[in-house]
């Protein structure tokens, strides 16, 4: 018996190839549209390292991506395709902002209360689609996308109604100073939320890889009939996964709100679920890999921003890269031959081995 875990080369090759192909296409576009393509490309690829500020921009941008990647990871493992993480994220931000403005408290206690409330709200919102689905049979994808509209508009309306800064007209008044997570490094926006993010990653790694719940969830997602037959309480497992996903997204919303901002500024919907799906895919749905893939996405975004500041290529090029990557990774047939050849060889070897034994 072979005890060593087999390394999934196929997955790694596929993801790497997808990334390379999309970057090559990006480079082709840059060469086609830029007046000075060499400089533009240089800025795109190395821009994040050009200044300390740029580099820590990558870190800041990565934090909400990680939370949403983790949320999507646990929610989608159940086999439910809920996109409600955006609702959780946004509305938890609204709750965090409200508490930051309206409930002054001592330092540290204030942040803890805010984050706890954001997590709780996120969790409650997270389970709504699955409850509606259970009662009415409606599709969770549709429900959750509609909920994202509702919670964005409702949340922003609440802020405008209660805490609007009349002099500004669209943002809220300032948070209490005790509500800030505090900067990690002078001259950057990177905040202590980074540690909370790291804790969330470790929590998810233990939950998905080491815990009874995580295994039950994976079995349920892989074959619900089998899970039911094996005596796994499917209802509880699915509900739990949506609750945990919502809580992670909510915590992410709270961390982002009091880490990055001094007042509520989310006047447009914050859409992280699609990024979350991409990051989860890039990470091969492994929680420990999610920070890595979030860092990568964040890196190319900041790179594109640096490039667009200094030249004539729009930063929207990132969307093209992301689109191509999702498409390639999601297409089962991409590089399928590699896997197929290997599987066929193995099947024939097994066959030969069995024939010898017989």
């Amino acid at each position: 018996m072979n005890k060593k875990k087999r390394f999934d080369w196929y997955g790694v090759i596929r993801v790497t190839a997808s990334i390379l192909i999309s970057l090559v296409i990006a480079a082709i576009i840059i060469f086609a549209v830029a007046d000075d393509p060499a400089t533009a490309l240089h800025k795109f690829l190395l821009g994040p390292f050009s200044t300390k500020r740029n580099f820590f921009n990558v870190i800041e941008t990565m934090i909400p991506l990680v939370f949403c990647g983790l949320a999507i990871n646990v929610m989608h493992k159940s086999g439910l395709f809920s996109m409600v993480a955006d609702s959780s994220f946004y509305f938890a931000g609204v709750v965090a902002a409200s508490l930051a403005i309206a409930c002054p408290m001592p330092n540290i206690a204030h942040q803890l209360v805010i984050l706890a409330a954001a997590t709780a709200v996120g969790g409650v919102i997270g389970v709504i689609p699955v409850l509606i689905k259970k009662k009415t049979g409606a599709n969770e994808l549709v429900i959750s996308l509609m909920m994202n509209y509702i919670f964005f508009n409702f949340g922003y309306w609440l802020i405008r109604n209660c805490f609007l800064d009349a002099s500004n007209g669209s943002f809220s008044i300032n948070f209490a100073p005790t509500a800030s997570l505090g900067k990690l490094l002078k001259g950057t926006n990177t905040h202590f939320g980074l540690f909370i993010m790291a804790a969330a990653v470790i929590f998810m790694w233990i939950l998905m890889d080491k815990s009874k719940f995580g295994r039950a969830l994976q079995i349920t997602g892989a074959n619900e009939n089998f899970a039911r037959y094996a005596g796994i309480r499917i209802g509880g497992v699915v509900l739990g996964s949506q609750l945990i996903g919502g809580m992670l997204a909510g915590l992410g919303g709270g961390v982002e709100m009091i880490g990055m901002y001094k007042k509520f500024q989310w006047i447009t919907a914050q859409t992280y679920v699609w990024d979350g799906i991409l990051i989860n895919l890039l990470a091969g749905t492994k929680p420990l890999m999610i920070p890595v893939s979030a860092f990568f996405i964040s890196y190319i975004r900041i790179g594109a921003l640096v490039m667009s500041r200094g030249g004539d290529v729009d930063s929207e090029i990132v969307s093209i890269i992301q689109g191509i990557m999702i498409m390639l990774i999601a297409s089962e047939r991409f590089l399928y031959r590699l896997k197929k050849n290997k599987e066929e060889k193995e099947a024939l070897q097994n066959q030969a081995a069995e024939a010898v034994e017989a």
Binding site: M1, N2, K3, K5, R6, I206, K210, S211, K212, F213, R215, A216, Q218, I219, A222, N223, N225, F226, A227, R228, Y229, A230, G231, I232, R233, K339, K340, E343, E344, E346, A347, L348, N350, Q351, E354, A358
Partner: protein, 512 residues
């Protein structure tokens, strides 16, 4: 010497995930014959036909038509080469008429629209020509299954097929319809059509076919003249053993009635009463066999017992509690194990690893608080693989890449080691190779020695006879017979009960 029309050389099919479905298959079909392809469920018959019809890609090997090698990229190519296929589950559009279905895809147009009159004329013409009667103007949803099948056959001929593949055509037909179909197939044979007939009903093969090829475990075992072999010989080739199974089974006294099924009722979603006021009991240490033609309530009854299905009324009393009111998890905890009928649908998560499939039913036992106990899991899985001879390269590979017999051994390992006192087995050896079958039988008898109580539902009467201490026969959701002296029971006698031709008096049934 008949002219060879179709020849297959070393055909191999490996499905994604490394599942070897066909391995080096060789056989040939002669012009104008009815050639049977026989084999148990899972022997690879359907995969082979799908490759010949261009629906499944061929992994390796060659197909020759009229001596020339052909490659089919899709069923369109196969049709163009004169091959037609009638699927087991008919592929018709129910809301269209018979004529519209016949011409679907290659219809003659009148301007932008389908020329309905022409379609009906053509349908009637071809129907008459081949003596396959269909009502051209009727909608498909309103015609009988027998007529649908005729329509499917006409469809293949309308598209120019000279070789027609029929995938278990009689599975859905009543006996009279089957007879009619056979008559028509023999007619087509006279017209020079070649027919490939997939079946596992041996008397049909014997009656209808000229030659047959036996498939087993994805391999072609033998091709022979039907006239030269008896049904018993064919069956021996299919199963790979003599149909008789004999085990030395120690005689023993049985204990208490530990599980009682009382007045169970169940109606399925189509409103048909599957379990009808059913009562029986299971004694400690016995193997209770359940026989019956498929669809007579055996499946439903045992699924109620394990908690996988909810009864309408009635009860299953075990250790003073009614299992019907409990969840599957609670039933498992109180000592009920279950080897389900379908190993892919319910018995395993095919994409997951062998390890995850082994531990799925014992997650609670194999963890400390909420965290999985890795050491205990490795030890448990290693013992399952060792004691139940599960052939697998590692515990990490997905279970679907194992052979059917090894998947089944893994499932049996999981259920037999869960610490249960009552084990429900539904078709435990269906479609597995003979080695795995004998191994599972041995394990069943070991459990019996350990005073476990087993319920064995099987369509294989030889298996039931070899293993059971008692056999009850289901007919229309009720027990038709109780056979306590298994060694003297004949399969013919079981058959009479199964068909409802023989019925034990109520006093005996009460004792079941």
């Amino acid at each position: 010497m008949a002219e060879e029309i179709l020849r297959v050389e070393d055909l191999t099919k490996i499905y994604p995930g490394g599942v070897l479905a066909n391995y080096n298959i060789n056989f040939s079909v002669n012009q104008g014959e009815i050639h049977a392809l026989v084999g148990e469920n899972g022997a690879g018959k359907s995969t082979l036909m799908k490759m010949l019809f261009g629906i499944e890609e061929i992994t390796s090997g060659k197909v020759f038509l009229h001596g020339k090698e052909v490659h089919f990229g899709s069923s369109k190519d196969a049709i163009a080469h004169g091959i037609g296929m009638v699927h087991q589950h008919m592929m018709l559009a129910p809301s269209l008429t018979v004529a519209e279905n016949l011409v679907l895809g290659i219809e003659k147009k009148k301007g932008l629209f389908l020329d309905k009159k022409k379609a009906i004329e053509e349908t009637e013409a071809i129907s008459k020509k081949y003596n396959l009667h269909v009502d051209a103007g009727k909608r498909v949803r309103d015609i009988s299954i027998g007529m649908k099948q005729k329509l499917e056959i006409l469809k293949t001929m309308y598209r120019g097929a000279r070789i027609i593949i029929l995938d278990e055509p009689t599975a859905v037909l009543a006996p009279q319809e089957t007879e009619e179909l056979f008559e028509q197939l023999l007619n087509l044979k006279k017209e020079g059509y070649t027919i490939l007939f997939i079946s596992h009903k041996l008397h049909e093969v014997k009656y209808l076919c000229d030659r047959l090829t036996v498939l087993k475990d994805g391999r072609s075992i033998q091709t022979c003249e039907v006239a030269d072999v008896t049904p018993e010989e064919i069956s021996r080739l299919m199963v790979g053993r003599d149909v008789k199974l004999e085990y030395d089974k120690a005689k023993k006294e049985f204990g208490e009635r530990i599980l009682r099924v009382e007045h169970l009722n169940y109606t399925d979603k189509f409103g048909s009463r599957k379990v009808n006021d059913l009562s029986f009991s299971l004694r400690e240490g016995e193997v209770l066999g359940i026989a019956g033609i498929e669809g007579n309530g055996q499946k439903e009854a045992v699924e109620i017992l394990t908690g996988n299905r909810k009864a309408e009324s009635g009860s299953v009393i075990y250790k003073g509690e009614n299992l019907c009111e409990k969840s599957i998890a609670e039933n498992r905890a109180s000592g009920i194990s279950h080897v389900p009928e379908d190993r892919h649908l319910d018995g395993s998560a095919p994409e997951m690893s062998v390890r995850d499939n082994l531990i799925a039913a014992s997650l609670g036992r194999l963890s400390k608080k909420a965290i999985l106990d890795t050491a205990a899991i490795e030890e448990y899985c290693a013992s399952c693989v060792r004691d139940f001879k599960v052939k697998t390269a590692s515990l990490d590979i997905s279970i679907k890449s194992l052979s059917g017999g090894n998947i089944q051994k893994a499932i049996v390992a999981r259920e037999f080691t869960a610490g249960a006192d009552v084990i429900v087995l539904n078709q435990p050896t269906r479609g597995v190779d003979v080695g795995a079958m004998e191994f599972i039988h041995k394990k069943i008898l070991e459990m019996r020695e350990e005073k476990k109580s087993l319920i064995l539902v099987s369509a294989d009467l030889a298996e039931l006879k070899a293993l059971s201490d008692r056999i009850i026969v289901f007919h229309q959701g009720r027990i038709a017979g109780v056979l306590s002296d298994v060694p003297i029971v004949t399969e013919e006698e079981l058959g009479l009960y199964m068909l409802g031709l023989k019925h034990d008096p109520e006093e005996i049934l009460k004792e079941a």
